[in-house]
Symmetry: D3
Amino acid sequence: MTELVVVMVIEDDEAVQGIVEDALSEGGFQAAVAATGEEAITLLRERHTEYRALVTDINLLGRLDGWEVARVAREIDPTFPIIYMTGAAADQYASKGVPSSILLNKPFAPAQLLTAVSQLLNAGSPPTAPTG
Amino acid sequence: MTELVVVMVIEDDEAVQGIVEDALSEGGFQAAVAATGEEAITLLRERHTEYRALVTDINLLGRLDGWEVARVAREIDPTFPIIYMTGAAADQYASKGVPSSILLNKPFAPAQLLTAVSQLLNAGSPPTAPTG
Amino acid sequence: MTELVVVMVIEDDEAVQGIVEDALSEGGFQAAVAATGEEAITLLRERHTEYRALVTDINLLGRLDGWEVARVAREIDPTFPIIYMTGAAADQYASKGVPSSILLNKPFAPAQLLTAVSQLLNAGSPPTAPTG
Amino acid sequence: MTELVVVMVIEDDEAVQGIVEDALSEGGFQAAVAATGEEAITLLRERHTEYRALVTDINLLGRLDGWEVARVAREIDPTFPIIYMTGAAADQYASKGVPSSILLNKPFAPAQLLTAVSQLLNAGSPPTAPTG
Amino acid sequence: MTELVVVMVIEDDEAVQGIVEDALSEGGFQAAVAATGEEAITLLRERHTEYRALVTDINLLGRLDGWEVARVAREIDPTFPIIYMTGAAADQYASKGVPSSILLNKPFAPAQLLTAVSQLLNAGSPPTAPTG
Amino acid sequence: MTELVVVMVIEDDEAVQGIVEDALSEGGFQAAVAATGEEAITLLRERHTEYRALVTDINLLGRLDGWEVARVAREIDPTFPIIYMTGAAADQYASKGVPSSILLNKPFAPAQLLTAVSQLLNAGSPPTAPTG
């Protein structure tokens, strides 16, 4: 258990980035921040680090938005946990989000982020419980 | 209760189309078949009929595939129940499917289709139960 | 397995009552129709028959409405499966419904009723699966 | 993200109130304590503050109990997250609780409260995922 | 879609076996009955047929009971859908059942069996939706 | 609320034991560590303390492994929340785990443990919400 549980974070607003990093750190996760979607995808493809989840803003620097990055992450690993953070774009979740993801409406509390990441990671137990 | 619960079906394989229509009919639903994704979207936009769910194949005649049609249907109505039917394209669900949808792997039994449509319609009760 | 699975139904609209009885019968359930909420509660209290679920309209003949009958049924048995059927009163579900119940919006297809009753009965397995 | 996520708390036992406030604060929520159910309802109706969830004891000072306050809160907003805290009244939850709420049995740990509030807030993503 | 969805059934009571076969058949499944747990395991291991789910009684002819057969089926395929049927042994489910299975209490209605099998098959969509 | 919420922990690796104790403590739980499965079962049977959940490693000192201890705990209390922690044995969960439990893959973050314990405790509200 000396290994770290690394969560990739894509967020260019420094204030939010700080809140997310602090929250993840307090929950015992290690945040790895990518400046753009392109950088995040490169890091996920290289597999130098084992990322366990993706926490992404929707409006990103660069050409890709958060919806697109999440789709690529799921092509690389179909079970990858995805958490979107957004204020203005929440109404696009129903058409642009991927299955089995969670949307956090800004503003959100750090506990919501920790619960969201943990729920998705814990649900990955083989096999996931059907409800009922 | 003399009104019908109409489910839009997009499927060009006549054998599967027959199975789906029969299954829906046996469960008390009314199937409305669209030949292409384009036709389905036109019908959803016109709102002459109140469609309550979409059951769609992935590989469709015309330019749109089932993933794209589902996204447009969710832009029109963010809570629209979506059921995908596929054999070959199941591995794309994690990246191309919309949240809160169900994928039926072909071959499937008619009871699976009825349960899938019913689960999504019943979950639409205001408000949907969070699990806990 | 010669015993019957009896579902109590409270519905005074004869057309809907017929649809509900037929649907339950086709699914292998036995419907026991009560004319009013008062009668239903008397039957539940007497325990001559083991009722396994309650399917109730909201607007009932007599002084009690469906919300009140469901609450009394849950006082008698805290795990009793409850399915509400309504058109006009759906917006009251969030404040007047009981936990772990299902609301069917009229019009609904028979398959939705069977799935709703079955989901609640199957979820009663000891213990119910937490999600995750 | 400088805005706060405010949670309304109705609890007159000062020891429990302190625990709840500390727990919420540690999770990054802002607790707004109301002394009675009547006061809570007045505050919810005025909408000066955007409350995001209600955490309520069952036995309250004043004429309303926690079950009644939750129902009024749901009339004001049908999707409002409700968390009940109780020791003695837990057996009334099945008949008096509202759908999609969570009951915390006293004594509970602060982490349970944070998870409960977060689960309900995160499930409010549009649309909530049906299980399947 | 001319292929069948085959469900393995282990049940030696002929009356129940008939009910289960009829129910599955009506839902469009093909039942393959095994007389004992040993026979069922042999068939699952040979993989001549692609079985998609297991429906099993608890008290079986032969040396294995339903709890043991389900565990072996899950060793062969960790995602195999399991439905137990029992009257007397329901209280053992919490300690002897496998995760993500469903217990049907006898007597049950055919619709409950169809919903149970369908829920587990539909939940197998890659990836299974975490709740939230 | 001066009473403690005690969670039984079975883990002989001192490093992991420390992480688990710290995580539980930070979430407001009280950890009670048992050195072996045999000791844990003795403590659960004596009922001197009210344990509210079990967090167990799979490979234990003594003759019992974590799968076996969990089964005995569920015989004592069919609703007892179970969280397994494992690295190597995760693939056995589908056949050896009990229903309604959660598996944490090592390495995991403290927040995952707190969320897992809290989800299972909160789901124990009477009655547990069926999904839909």
